[in-house]
């Protein structure tokens, strides 16, 4: 899954009630401009010790590819307590006003998300220093490997609906373009500068090769 930072309004105000406690209002900081950072911040807030329901429930989130190649978020919690939210996250995260004792699944794809048929493959996410005394990371070899660039190779494979979705998502991307990418084989979320998308076609399938580098500024 790719969660692009988009130009839309990401201010989140979600009125939340849990386990019979008085409602509390979640308010985003304004720094979360993609679906991954936004849902992560909300879940962190839900699990914060300052919440009245702290200890009664532990929250987590997940996603699933929708029929239209976007990511459909699910919020789940332990403890079997009743949880309710208003529609404050509908326009961005896709959650409508609803309540449940176990989990809530969004009714719309999260803004800026792309979940192709074959999940994104992220390889080579390692620090790299080029040869020679001068390189793009600085005129002098720094001698500190942790300062080298990361330039992973990202690839995806999908169908026409995946192609349609990614173009739609890219049209809403903020500039400079950056986003959060889920690396399947490590289970990590990587925040990267997202460069050019190159698409090639074979029969009914499409392959994308995506330029990326980290960490973005």
């Amino acid at each position: 899954m790719l969660a692009l930072s988009t130009t839309g309004n990401w201010s989140l105000f979600i009125d939340t009630t849990c386990d019979g406690n008085p409602a509390e209002m979640y308010e985003s900081t304004g720094d979360e401009t993609d679906a991954y950072t936004a849902i992560t911040a909300y879940v962190t807030w839900l699990n914060n010790a300052a919440r009245a329901w702290y200890g009664a429930a532990t929250f987590s989130w997940s996603y699933a590819r929708s029929d239209y190649a976007g990511a459909r978020l699910t919020l789940a919690w332990t403890g079997g307590v009743n949880f309710a939210m208003d529609a404050g996250g509908l326009a961005t995260l896709g959650f409508d006003a609803d309540s449940s004792n176990t989990s809530l699944t969004a009714i719309a794809d999260a803004v800026g998300t792309w979940a192709p048929t074959v999940p994104l493959a992220v390889r080579g996410y390692a620090r790299s220093l080029k040869d020679g005394d001068a390189e793009s990371a600085g005129a002098v070899r720094p001698g500190v490997p942790g300062l080298g660039h990361r330039q992973p190779a990202i690839e995806a494979i999908g169908k026409a609906i995946d192609a349609a979705r990614v173009a739609f998502v890219l049209a809403t991307a903020a500039t400079p373009r950056q986003g959060s990418v889920y690396q399947e084989h490590t289970g990590d979320w990587l925040t990267l500068a997202i460069g050019e998308f190159q698409r090639s076609r074979q029969d009914l399938a499409y392959r994308w090769t995506i330029a990326a580098a980290g960490a973005p500024v």
Binding site: A164, A167, R177, A193, A215
Partner: protein
């Protein structure tokens, strides 16, 4: 079947019996042969072929007081103009070429069918419409300390298309009305093709601007293929 149709320019309606200053293919005239008197129709703003002929029918009905219809058959590839009283189409500017009628018509009749296929709409054997691609320029800068920035520029997206047609349709196509400016490309006549293309309906019709049209290729006898690049504002 797939088809492509053009948009025609207009910047104000014709006023019944007078031809507005700018009259090209968007203006259509009708003679009430009983009177006789001339009447003209023109949309107030640019319209695509299908909407244009509907506008002509509405405006000419109002102007003449008759019930005028303008219908197009994708099977016969002909435009028919009919009324409940005797009429004669009156060609303005290049509208004869555009609609398929003969320039100088004579006589009167209740129904007139064009002699040739119109140039504003071309029937296709098929249309390959690739899903939309982002046509942005991205500059990836790598800074010291491993930081990166991907600055993007761009305001449109594109569809790579291939249009397949028989030689008679290629003659219409080559006239140029559907090769430049704004067009609508339909991938079919049923199901998803009846709705506009979007991120949930990649089989829908594409409404955009022609960025380029490549050289035709004769795929086999009587079968021509034209590559086309259609741009859409994002």
């Amino acid at each position: 079947m797939a088809w492509i149709e053009c948009y025609v320019y207009s910047e104000g309606p014709a006023t019944d019996t007078a031809i507005a200053a700018l009259d090209t293919v968007q203006t259509f005239g009708l003679v009430k042969t009983a009177t006789p008197s001339n009447h003209y129709a023109r949309p107030a703003a640019p319209q695509r072929w299908t909407d244009l002929i509907a506008t002509w029918a509405t405006q000419l009905s109002t102007a003449t007081g008759y019930t005028v219809t303008c219908t197009y058959s994708s099977t016969t590839k002909r435009l028919t103009v009919a009324a409940n009283n005797l009429i004669r189409p009156l060609m303005v500017g290049n509208s004869a070429l555009f609609t398929g009628f003969t320039q100088a018509l004579a006589g009167s009749a209740l129904s007139w069918t064009a002699d040739d296929a119109p140039l504003g709409r071309v029937e296709l054997l098929g249309a390959l419409v690739e899903p939309r691609e982002d046509w942005a320029s991205v500059e990836m800068e790598l800074y010291r300390h491993g930081r990166a920035r991907a600055t993007t520029w761009g305001n449109h997206q594109v569809h790579r298309c291939a249009l397949y047609m028989v030689a008679t349709s290629a003659a219409q196509f080559d006239a140029g009305y559907v090769q430049a400016g704004r067009v609508r490309l339909h991938q079919g006549e049923s199901g998803a093709a009846l709705s506009a293309y979007d991120e949930t309906n990649p089989g829908g019709y594409v409404d955009g601007w022609v960025i380029g049209c490549g050289q035709p290729v004769e795929e086999s006898e009587n079968l021509w293929a034209y590559p086309m690049l259609i741009g859409v504002a994002r």
